[in-house]
């Protein structure tokens, strides 16, 4: 394993190099210890937040913004998107309400980030 990546732990943006095997990762190129953690995490289990929209039945607000309740593995993002894309909201919700539980068995729920009035 030999991968380079830009660290985003701070705005400095160090160019990290991660070498070694999963149980013995070597991170170099960092200027502060946060770079080590970031480099390891990005190899072992890179996590991302997914935010998107769902379809609604409303003409005025045809889409409602949503997010997952926790970050999920980067590799599962598109899988989650295809499930979310097939969902249509047909009831009133408020911000924080769960729309889909445990999306794609990732352990993350799909939650509304804004309110939606199905009558409006």
């Amino acid at each position: 394993m030999n991968r380079t990546m830009t660290c985003i732990a701070c705005p400095r943006g160090c160019l990290l190099t991660v070498t070694g095997s999963n149980d013995n990762l070597e991170v170099s190129g960092y200027q502060c210890p946060r770079g080590i953690d970031y480099g390891r995490q990005e190899i072992l289990l890179p996590l991302r937040m997914l935010t998107t929209t769902v379809r609604t039945m409303s003409v005025e607000s045809p889409r409602l913004p949503v997010r997952l309740s926790t970050e999920v593995s980067k590799t599962r993002i598109f899988e989650c998107m295809s499930v979310i894309n097939h969902f249509t909201l047909n009831r009133s919700v408020k911000a924080g309400d769960v729309l889909i539980e445990d999306v794609c068995a990732t352990g993350a729920d799909l939650i509304a980030t804004g309110g939606f009035d199905n009558e409006g």
Partner: protein, 441 residues
């Protein structure tokens, strides 16, 4: 059906009076209204759209509020927190209401608005907080040539279409400019099934945050081409392709590097311009760099009684700072109605070294309980290490070291302005890039 909300009932044609009018209900306006109300002012907040929140409504991505709420929120969630604060207070909110005129009237201002429910509304206010945000630079402002087909969008337009209206402006976009909205839209396009042909940036550094370059482009293998720009648009009716060119150090296109990239739309993320055009008749002084009003530490402009905050003041990269300036402006606007600071002396800050701009640009002599107030600045060039100094009459009043500064990341620090001698010389702020040898000092 659109609804109009106004908590108070006024008789038709009745002239309204309030202490503070806040123009705009985005993150800056909501914060200003809340702070002004908390400082005891009667507040009226005006919004031209139907709902509060401004641009946050369409910023469905996360990363908002890390400083303000110590949480990573999405735009709508951040907005919702502030909406609740507004709703808990006695703030009159007028939506679908558009400012058409602002004039001096005695010590305060007379403002005229139109809205569908009440037609023309006049409001008399002692002070006004301008929180109207910014607009995006267009293809015309970067002097893009070629044909003028459908399919050229600003990143904000694309964001509105995709996130709010649910429509794709195209499926094979080219993105010009690496501003944050452009990067974020590269990811949104990709998540919604489009294939982003590439992001082109004329500068040698991305203009958006590193985090967005990594998580919006690198995560999806979207190429970022630095020192490269779009020189021509092709397609009679609809965008069919663009010509891209590498540029030299003066940003002049190198014609022999021209290549044609097939695409079906062009998304522009090439800068934001604070919206202050309505203030020009008032003779307000604008900073030529920020394109927002010149303000003092209370966000008070050169026009007594007019306060400015958020992206209308200067374009911020974090919403937290937008709200912070809103709070400061709202509070000061409320206090302004009670005290009289007209006669107090304003000291202009002189900025030197590698400072691109600093806000506030001037300091007013005042007694205030806060000993330290925020100052925002951007460097004009990247610097690994730099020193920020505030000096007056040869004395150093404030000193701070920074590591890794770049123009795309705004810096914030707190300065105790009470240390400035109002009778003294013009205070000087200086930002100097430091060499490595200064390390051990």
């Amino acid at each position: 059906m659109k609804r109009q909300y106004s908590k108070r009932q006024y008789k038709d044609g009745q002239r309204r009076c309030c202490d503070v009018v806040v123009i705009g209900s985005g993150p800056a306006g909501m914060a200003a209204a809340v702070s002004a109300a908390d400082a005891g002012a009667s507040v009226c907040m005006i919004e031209r759209e139907e709902k509060m929140g401004g641009i946050l409504k369409q910023c469905i991505h996360d990363g908002f509020g890390l400083i303000r709420f110590e949480e990573k929120l999405t735009g709508p969630e951040y907005s919702w927190r502030y909406q609740q604060m507004v709703n808990e207070r006695d703030i009159d909110f007028l939506n679908l209401t558009f400012l058409t005129k602002i004039e001096r009237s005695g010590k305060g201002f007379s403002l005229e608005f139109v809205n569908p429910a009440e037609a023309v509304i006049s409001i008399e206010a002692a002070s006004v907080v301008m929180a109207m945000g910014c607009r995006e630079r267009t293809d015309r402002q970067i002097f893009l040539h070629g044909q003028r087909p459908a399919g050229i969008f600003t990143a904000g337009q694309a964001q509105d279409f995709i996130n709010l209206k649910g429509f794709m402006p195209g499926k094979r976009p080219v993105i010009l400019g690496s501003g944050d909205i452009g990067l974020i839209m590269a990811r949104r396009f990709t998540l919604e099934g489009a294939s982003v042909r590439g992001v082109y940036e004329i500068a040698s550094l991305p203009s958006g945050l590193t985090r967005n370059v990594v998580q919006c482009l690198e995560d999806f293998d979207i190429p970022l081409h630095l020192n490269t720009t779009v020189t021509e648009v092709h397609g009679r009716d609809r965008v069919e392709a663009v010509t891209v060119c590498r540029v030299d150090e003066n940003r002049h296109p190198l014609q022999d590097t021209a290549r044609r990239i097939d695409c079906d739309c062009l998304i522009l993320s090439v800068g934001l311009i604070p919206e202050n055009d309505i203030l020009i008749p008032l003779g307000i002084e604008l900073d030529p760099v920020t394109r927002g009003p010149v303000v003092d530490q209370f966000m008070h402009s050169s026009c007594p009684g007019i306060f400015s905050c958020g992206n209308a003041l200067h374009v911020s990269d974090l919403v937290d700072y937008v709200s912070e300036s809103g709070h400061a402006a709202g509070k000061a606007a409320a206090e302004w109605t009670k005290s009289d600071l007209v006669g107090s002396r304003k000291l202009r800050l002189s900025a030197g070294g590698i400072i691109q701009y600093i806000v506030p640009q001037s300091i007013t002599e005042a007694e205030h309980e806060d000993s330290a107030l925020p100052v925002y600045f951007r460097p004009s060039v990247p610097a690994d290490r730099a020193e920020f100094l505030l000096k007056q009459s040869g004395r150093i009043l404030y000193k701070k070291r920074f590591s890794y500064l770049k123009p795309s990341e705004m810096q914030r620090l707190e300065i105790d302005f009470a240390r400035i001698d109002p009778e003294g010389e013009m205070p000087v702020v200086e930002l100097t890039a430091l060499g490595m040898e200064a390390d051990d000092e």
